[in-house]
Symmetry: C2
Subunit: 515 residues, 2 copies
């Protein structure tokens, strides 16, 4: 049979290779006493027992490099087993390089194995667990804050931001699309897809962004990512080197800032006031920053909308300074008192804005889909970075989401949720005003799924601790400052709390603030 | 209604804010001639036309900061429309900061808007497209190689590596699991999941790795990622800083190397011979490297398996030098002439090995699921980096894959594919030996879905070019060297080529090599 012949041929080549680098012959005693034992009662095959017995003996140092191994015939007789499992075990040990075989000298323990001493091996086994000192990792990683195992899970109380009302998601429709695509999945969709993302989805998103967000874009500029975090990560890599300076909003979103800190960027905190990022202050602090990271639609955490004049000032700065603007439009879909404010990207005439959005808040977090709108001339560089990071996004749910948007379910869902959140928001504001009155001031409630509740003359961290004791997680505003905290307050989310639970939750909050 | 009252209250606050920073009053003429025009035939609402008309006039500079806006009554009369759309448009322009209104002075174009000149604006519109010079991006990104838009797609010929036989994937079973999970999906699964990955999947993977790969691990050490590329990315961040030295295999896998180069690591290429990475040579070149990146089961591209002695040498080096080993076990499931060789991680007694695997090759590429096995004491740091990069993996297909493994479909599929690939491999080797004979030498065919075909006295890039003209993509071995190419040859994949197409493909290859 030619096939067999070919394989044998290769195998011979292998064995020839393994001889290429011999140490000078030393006199080493051959193995006399039985080195391995087997049991017929074990669930392991005889072959496996012989193989593992030898391997263990070699690794633990009880068999030494160059020691002659009994012939398979002798070993089989010693163990009182047939010769086949012994032959198979020897072949495996040869293939893996524990044994070597040489014409004339039979099979020996591989001479190139480093020395192992039995005692040393046994002692080393648990060394990691014993050492209490931390082993050296990268400096950049050592600086990263520790993470809770379960991120933003349920059970964190009624006021956590970035929580969506999952009960309102049209799961029946979504699952119908999932099932439909499962039926349609063919061999083609199993292959690597376009690293930029599925064309149908990119077209659907471009269409949505043009009409709903005033973004000037074409599907070819869209990069599908796993959420805004990955969007920021890719953007940071395309635009910034370690040491480059970046304007961030003060206070701002710590996870976004973290992406740039991890890249080694120098952070320039620029204060946010009621009109958004104070551009003049940024220019004064560091005119030559390479980029600015902003949330103009609904600033996180203060909730303010960047005014038209600040938008134009920022664009002018970017243009004259050849800097970039990174617009994180994380929850712009919901706006309550006016029409949605169009994106900063849509005002830009010089392609200086990278626009980033996510479906985590408007659909559901575990879908892990978001997008970047890259400037036209940088699309190819975004592609290169996206590919280098993780090849590309999974295909299946991109196709599901494309249909969800194209068939109108997406806009219906957004309309419906706008009403749901609007109700929760106004009930929450009303309850807060009734229960807490003048002790707090609400800001940034025009959009999104959270607002900011300022307090005065009291430590927000202290209240947060007291609230935590009552099972209410509150994120203190003072924690979201990069530098010194200028205001005290809380991020109050209302995405996941049903209307009927709000009055009780606010009473609990009042009690936490009182005692 | 209390709700309305609350909202009005906030709105008033908003307007109050917008007054906080006025420029000194200047005399600016009020608007006299009609600045906007509307048409009743347009699909846009009257409100939208008024809003956009003003916005455009302001952005283009035909309306200047401080100019008085006609009252809504006057404007409505001028346009011959009802007052409601004008009032709505004015409210939006006020909310966005294009207008400002002040007791006593009526509504004016916002004074804080930067100067816009009509001519300048029009000229700037197309500036990006006109400038042929590239705009400044990060140096690290500028160095990244350009990417083909479609990665490893079909139609690249019969010999491309990393291609799987998608037709053999049990899609019916997979899709049944998808449909089952679609029915089961509840609000809980829509929430953010564990950043480390779904517990059920991590347990299934740990079980598989312990038995099939001899990996010593527990589910708590598994980090679910989107494939080996992201696995390498996360590992690089945990372990290495810019400037740290890393041993890589020479020749080696360029995309993996790229992850570390992008991080700013210094690459130390260490030659690979028939026993795998030459550890002694690595020690001689740079003993103090922080880490070594290896593919011990089936070296990419040469296909050799790292010998037992090299494995032990490498582990000894890592232990004595406090360095890390990154084991990329990208296609270890298929082994043809012996039992699978257990992982390097399984030999390690000091938790110095980070083990990375992927489902891209054993299931299908677009599933985008892989895993890291992190050393126990570093789990928390891997979690921190994973979270910082992109929060966590999408939940749905993790659940599907967990069932696929637990219900035995995974091991059945692997067994079946081992037979399929074994046949393709032996037919391919036979055809190459018949058609090309002594002109080539095959190496590294013991495992995986590709082997290496060496050529002598001829440029592999030249042959690759000729083959490309015949529609056959061949990856030249010489391209996979970081330094000077020491051997010429090709990576020959057989994952996606049915047996009956192999003889013809090899004849084509012979013709490409002949002329």
């Amino acid at each position: 049979m030619p096939e067999k012949a070919v394989i044998r041929n290769i195998h011979l080549t292998l064995i020839r290779y393994s001889h290429y680098d011999f140490a000078p012959m030393k006199r080493v005693p051959s193995i006399t006493s039985p080195i391995i034992s087997i049991t017929r009662k074990a669930s392991k095959s005889l072959y496996r027992q012989v193989y593992e017995g030898y391997r263990k003996a070699i690794l633990e140092g009880s068999l030494r490099a160059g020691q002659r191994v009994p012939s398979s015939r002798v070993q089989a007789a010693e163990l009182q087993v047939s010769r086949i499992p012994v032959l198979n075990a020897y072949a495996q040990l040869l293939a893996e390089g524990y044994f070597e075989s040489r014409v004339g000298s039979g099979t020996v323990v591989s001479r190139s194995l480093p020395e192992r001493s039995g005692a040393g091996q046994a002692g080393r086994e648990t060394s990691t667990k014993r050492t209490s000192t931390r082993r050296a990792i990268s400096k950049r990683c050592a600086k990263l804050p520790a993470r809770e195992r379960f991120f933003a899970g349920r059970g964190l109380g009624p006021f956590l931001a970035s929580q969506v009302s999952s009960e309102h998601f049209p799961l029946r429709i979504w699952n119908r699309l999932v099932t439909r695509h499962a039926r349609r999945t063919g061999a083609r969709t199993l292959d690597y897809g376009d690293p930029m993302g599925l064309k149908e989805l990119r077209e659907a998103i471009a269409g949505h962004l043009r009409t709903a967000r005033g973004v000037r874009c074409d599907a070819s500029q869209i990069v599908i990512v796993s959420g805004s975090q990955q969007g920021l990560e890719i953007t940071a890599r395309v635009l910034l080197d370690a040491g480059d300076r970046l304007w961030i909003e003060e206070p701002g979103y710590a996870y976004a800032r973290g992406v740039f800190e991890f890249s080694g960027c120098k952070i320039v905190p620029v204060p946010v006031d009621e009109e958004g990022l104070n551009v003049a202050s940024g220019v004064k602090k560091c005119r030559n920053a390479r980029a600015a990271l902003v949330t103009p639609s609904h600033q996180y955490p203060l909730g303010v909308t960047m005014s038209a004049s600040r938008r134009l000032q920022l664009l002018d700065w970017a243009e004259s300074n050849r800097s970039w603007i990174i617009e994180d439009d994380y929850d712009s879909e919901y706006r309550y008192e006016s029409m949605p404010v169009t994106s900063l990207q849509g005002l830009d005439r010089n392609s200086r804005v990278v626009y980033i959005g996510t479906f985590s808040k408007v659909l559901f977090p575990s879908v892990r889909l978001g997008y970047i709108v890259a400037p036209e001339d940088l699309v190819e560089r975004f592609l290169a970075v996206r590919f280098a990071m993780d090849i590309g996004p999974a295909t299946f749910h991109q196709a599901v989401l494309a249909d969800f948007i194209r068939e109108g379910h997406f806009s219906r869902h957004v309309r419906r949720m706008r009403a749901v959140y609007a109700e929760r928001r106004s009930v929450l504001i009303q309850c807060i005003q009734e229960e807490l009155g003048a002790r707090v001031e609400i800001g940034g409630a025009q959009a999104g799924m959270h607002f900011c509740m300022m307090v005065k003359g009291i430590s927000d961290r202290e209240i947060a601790e007291r609230a935590a004791a009552r099972g209410i997680t509150l994120v203190p505003l003072s924690r979201l400052y990069y530098g010194k905290a200028m205001r005290q307050g809380f991020i109050v989310g209302f995405g996941s709390t049903p209307v009927e639970q709000i009055p009780g939750a606010v009473r609990e909050l009042r009690n936490a603030m009182a005692n």
